[in-house]
């Protein structure tokens, strides 16, 4: 009687141990098979325009809006300039020319949803590798992010 019980206990233990290692192994395998950039998870739109609340192209007037530029400048000085110079590396990359290399939607998504872009977007991941600091969300609204784009467009137009 006792030996049967022992056998049973051993069996249960083994099954349990196996299932636990199996789970762990699976997880490890999963991670190992992940490509560095995790690009598969992203839509075409996200790859080009970033991950976040901006999910459609926005229309930009060719003519810049001075009110938006001013607003964007104020937000930049209060919430961004601590880490980003316009020219030259600081905590983060310089912002001059950014409207030429990234789409406005990408810039807005990055401002509005930095964590996910750094975690999942190949550009965010590359930036993290280079600067080693996660850009924080600075409590910026969608409207504020749009104003920041205008401010950067104006800066780049006058380069």
């Amino acid at each position: 009687m006792t030996s049967i019980k022992n056998l049973l206990t051993t069996f249960i233990f083994l099954v349990l141990a196996f299932s636990l290692t199996a789970c762990g192994g699976e997880e490890r395998a999963d991670r190992a098979s992940q490509p560095d950039t995790q690009e598969e998870g992203l839509t075409e739109f996200e790859l080009e325009h970033g991950i976040g609340p901006i999910t459609e192209r926005i229309t930009l007037d060719d003519e810049l809006d001075p009110e938006k530029i001013e607003k964007g400048r104020n937000i930049y000085e209060m919430k961004c300039e601590m880490c980003h110079n316009m020219q030259g590396r600081m905590v983060g990359p310089p912002l001059a020319g950014v409207t030429e290399t990234r789409t406005p939607e990408f810039i807005m998504n990055f401002i509005l949803n930095p964590r996910e872009n750094i975690d999942r977007h190949p550009i965010g991941q590359a930036l993290l590798r280079e600067y080693l600091t996660q850009m924080p969300y600075q409590n910026v609204s969608e409207e504020d992010a749009r104003a920041l784009v205008e401010f950067m467009r104006d800066y780049d137009a006058n380069l």
Binding site: M78, E81, M82, T133, P136, N139
Partner: protein
Amino acid sequence: MKKDKTQKLRSLFVGIGLIAAAGLILAGCPSQQGMMDTRDAAQKVYVAPGEHDEYYGFFSGGYSGQLSVWGLPSGRFLKVIPVFSQDPETGYGYSEETKPLLQTSYGFIPWDDSHHPHISQTNGDADGRWIYINANNTPRIARIDLQTFETKEILELPNTGGNHASSFVTSNSEYVIGATRFSIPYEMDLDVPIDSYSEEFRGALSFIELDSETGMMNMGFQIIVPPYNYDLGRAGKGVSEDWVFFTTYNTEEAHTMLEVNASRNDKDYIAAVNWRRAAELVRNGHGETMSAEYYHNYYEGNQGFAINDVKDQVTVLTPEDGQEFIYFLPTPKSPHGVDIDPTGEYIAAGGKLATVIPVHSFSRMIEAIENRDFEGNVENIPILSYDATIAGEVENPGLGPLHTEFDGRGYAYTSVYISSEIVKWSLETFEVVDRIDAYYSIGHLMITGGDTKNPDARYLVGLTKTAKDRYLPTGPKQNHPAQLYDISGDRMELLLDFPTIGEPHYAQAIRADKITQNVKQIYEMEENDHPHALLRIADNRVERDGDVVRIYMGSTRSHFRPDNIEGIRVGDTVYIHLTNLEQEWDVVHGIAVKGAQNSEILVAPGQTKTLKWEPTRTGIYPFYCTAFCSALHQEMQGYIRVSAADSDVSLAWRTGTN
């Protein structure tokens, strides 16, 4: 076959159990250990990692002067909110912004003894907007904002010695109350012989008006009462919501060896005050303005330095014949707690030295007042007849009943100090129906959602005075315990026992969702109205005005700007105004300067705080971020050069160019 036998045995045991239980109840049921099966108890208090508790518990810090916050039922420690004592961990009471909060008419007071937190109420229910707490020693009341869990305001009470019967709020937060535990001469700074007690000393009951939008306090009026000790108070509810009640002891008017001299009378009083009527009398000019010096400390804006608004007068109301707003209810014997049930009908007193728990009826009290059923009168305060107001006396409550809370299901729970137990009794029969041990020497108790019209009554917390052998020993002085009981069933069951901070007296617990929906994650930079805030990093600078130097500094992960400063001189008074420009939840930066006779200052996201520093020696002073904020936290540092008093090193500051 085997199964049948087990079932038979089980029913036999259940039968014996029932008979035993019935026997115990009939015999007056001795206290029980009442610990439920350990696994069941563990399951009931288990909150999985990452999950949240159902209740916030706010425990007074007692002689720590603070208020601690706990998750219930897990007993997870959440934080200490500094209130009446300096807190070097956060810089509260050390930063220039918070120092004014601790100013009083006696100067800067770095410590007090906080007893009774009470959450603001709307329609008799806790609304989770603010929590008030009293300072017993240098009498004050503080308001803590439950959006930020910070002390925002402190009001000193004049004419008061030991503000113990405080800080209980009325049903719609019209008033928060205070009272003098130690009667004193109430004319300001009166220098009289102590044995002129009966002639010169008086008590004051304080009614502090609350602003319904901001929670701000304003000293409304004080009622001048005979020279007794006014011990505890509570506001009425429902039918009695226009009333507040205070216990008194020392109706003997002793001023020495109160242990003996104040324990002679068989009955002292509960003072019942119709605050609505009293306020009306004051409005109609029956009050008297007298001079008094007391401080009202608060913030004028969202941020900045707390200000000291020094008051020089207070309105007092001295009962006159026929004013009919205050009555005494004779109550045995040196009563401590006075607690009102959720309907507002029952007024239970904890007579420390009484052999019963006397329970007055509010409706009978009103009837007695209408029938002029008075036994006498003290200083124009009618004394009602005990028989006219009493609804019942709970027999065999144990030795030393102190405080009572109610579950809203017809039962009351009284803490009993000397016999160290909690007794549960019926509001219908006034009989004890259950009792359970407390470890050891219980003071206050509280029920989740308690002291409101609608208690949740899932759990009860007992706050005890000594731990003895309950935990791993930590020397001759150990921290005070809290014990969590399940009161959802017929019998109380002990679930959890954990040490607290300071000496918790009263505590309150509120359903978490009433608070979490309002909790702030950051201070919005756009709303930072601090006069020395750094709203644009480009404005970081150092300014000199005579011997006063102001450093306008910003912080973000992972640097300060500026971080190299020169031109400070020995003899300067330096203010470092540090703005945390982060806008991400819980990303805190701190600052500490070598040799500064001050604490560190912690600065929450979007906040500006000021460290005052008076360098006394020349040299290079490193400063650094005290809160581990990022991977490059160790790099978050700077240098300040301090030169001789007569040096001509010019003021300079920079960041980023080596």
